[in-house]
Symmetry: C2
Subunit: 306 residues, 2 copies
């Protein structure tokens, strides 16, 4: 695999929200980006959008020095790239086609990383000629702000490819967590879905409203888990005996609760949840809410990094 | 109920970690505190511990002006108090005895709030002469830092008592979320347990280590949920259609994952989890880790509040 410290040019394939976020992230780190999307309008809008994101994020110099080329075929975008980040729609047939074309177009020492959140790499690797250099590099929205990238090896990914991808992501300012094997939803979206399942059950049972759930999480679990993860939080909440004492004291009660959790019917709860989040929004439109979130998140992440 | 804006003197019953945290919170807000614990050593250590917490938290003036009296009976501590915060051990018989004594000792317009996390108020209210002024006021560790208090009415709590307790907690700088009814674990500990259940399942399945789970949460879900709650996060992740579009697009996949989640055996996983968190600690002892957490959490909460 190419040395992650020497990667100079990245191909970004698919320019939706995630692909655009990657372009901004790579450009902010001073790398050259070769971008492809089959939709010409997406391509043409890209440079100005990236410059805007970079300027807003305090990367004025990177905006001036932007090295971004637009390509109307995938093969042309990949040519000369040291690393490939793929972000095409989350549909089996599209992913299979694009990963196959990337595999044929790129030298075998170039890593092909897919941003997929909902699919698993294992189902595509058999059809590739060099599956060992393919890996999942799953980022979080907004990609140019959120630190984490999940690096997930498929069954045929070479350990050195996963390792090189992780080191490359760290180089562009991400925090990489390399999972031990693939699973539907990787790790974070599983954890997030598990908490949300119980939140929806609590709303359905009339324990709390949508807005109360959000307010409780924002004023407790969010700040706590920005500082220590769930295991470390319990380790430090267990008195002198740490996590072992915590589990000995509270384990039976937690196990009982685990056993009693139930699975709500999301489709049946949709109207209630949408009404609840609209009450929480209190008339602010999506655009306003998004700008507010980005401003707060950006300031928070700068605080945490500083 | 007494007007929460006029509360001047608070009785704090039980001076473990939670009780001590409440004393610091009330003292920082300039209130007079009457404290009781059956253990004389706990009582005697209190004033210096509180002054230390106040000074470390930038409340030097409150430390100088501290109005804290120590009492060797519960009844004496309660005498003259406008609000009672109870924090005795989480055992049914002890709580029943203490709540009964508080109920007999305090005028009926004084709110008795219990910090219980593991018990429910409903099982105690029948035995009280004035159950309508009892409520759960469940804080989070460290009480003098963490914004959230869950206010939980029992079946016989008067709505105006829950409302007055919430307003009083807001007055001393907390964010109060008043649940609609009681449930085992209230709200936040249920949500936390739900995420942890899936985290332990992922560790057991060999998807991720304890340290990887913590690192992923700290670098993604923690910061995200410090800014927007889980529903609002999905609302803003649904493109132009908000939460409804999000559920229509991703709902079936999420429902499938919900249905497939399984319940690990916590007792069988304890050794693995303890080993994992010790690796994560990397030789730092509990004291060091706690100080590190408190320093980071305190700075983070100051950032979020400012």
């Amino acid at each position: 695999m190419r040395d992650p410290a020497m990667i100079e040019t990245v191909a970004v394939i698919g320019l939706g929200t995630i692909g655009t976020g990657w372009v901004a992230r790579f450009a902010a780190a001073g790398l050259a980006v070769r971008a492809f999307d089959p939709d010409a309008a997406q391509r043409e809008a890209l440079p100005e959008a990236i410059r805007q994101v970079l300027r807003d994020g305090g990367h004025g110099e990177a905006a001036e020095a932007l090295r971004l080329s637009l390509h109307d075929t995938l093969e042309e975008a990949v040519s000369g790239a040291d690393f490939i980040q793929e972000n095409v729609p989350e549909r089996q047939a599209i992913k299979a086609d694009v990963l196959g074309r990337l595999d044929r177009a790129a030298p075998v020492d170039v890593i092909i990383s897919t941003s997929t959140s909902g699919l698993m790499l294992g189902q595509f690797q058999e059809a590739l000629s060099a599956p060992e250099r393919t890996v999942v590099g799953h980022p979080f929205h907004p990609v140019y702000l959120m630190p984490l990238v999940e690096v997930v090896p498929g069954p045929r990914t070479a350990p050195e490819a996963a390792d090189a991808a992780a080191r490359f992501y760290e180089r562009v300012g991400h925090v990489a967590v390399t999972l031990q094997k693939e699973a539907p939803g990787h790790l974070v979206n599983r954890l997030q879905a598990a908490l949300w399942r119980e939140a929806v059950a609590c709303v359905e049972d009339g324990i709390a409203s949508v807005e109360q759930v959000d307010k409780a999480v924002v004023n407790c679990l969010g700040p706590r888990w920005s500082v220590v993860g769930p295991h470390m939080a319990f380790h430090l909440g267990g008195g002198k005996g740490g996590l072992r004492h915590f589990v000995e004291q509270l384990g039976p009660g937690i196990q009982k609760r685990w056993n009693e959790f139930r699975t709500p019917d999301l489709a049946a709860m949709t109207d209630t949840l949408v009404r609840g989040v609209e009450e929480e929004a209190g008339g602010r439109d999506l655009n306003t809410l998004q700008r507010e979130r980005d401003r707060k998140l950006s300031a928070l992440l700068a605080h945490l990094a500083g």
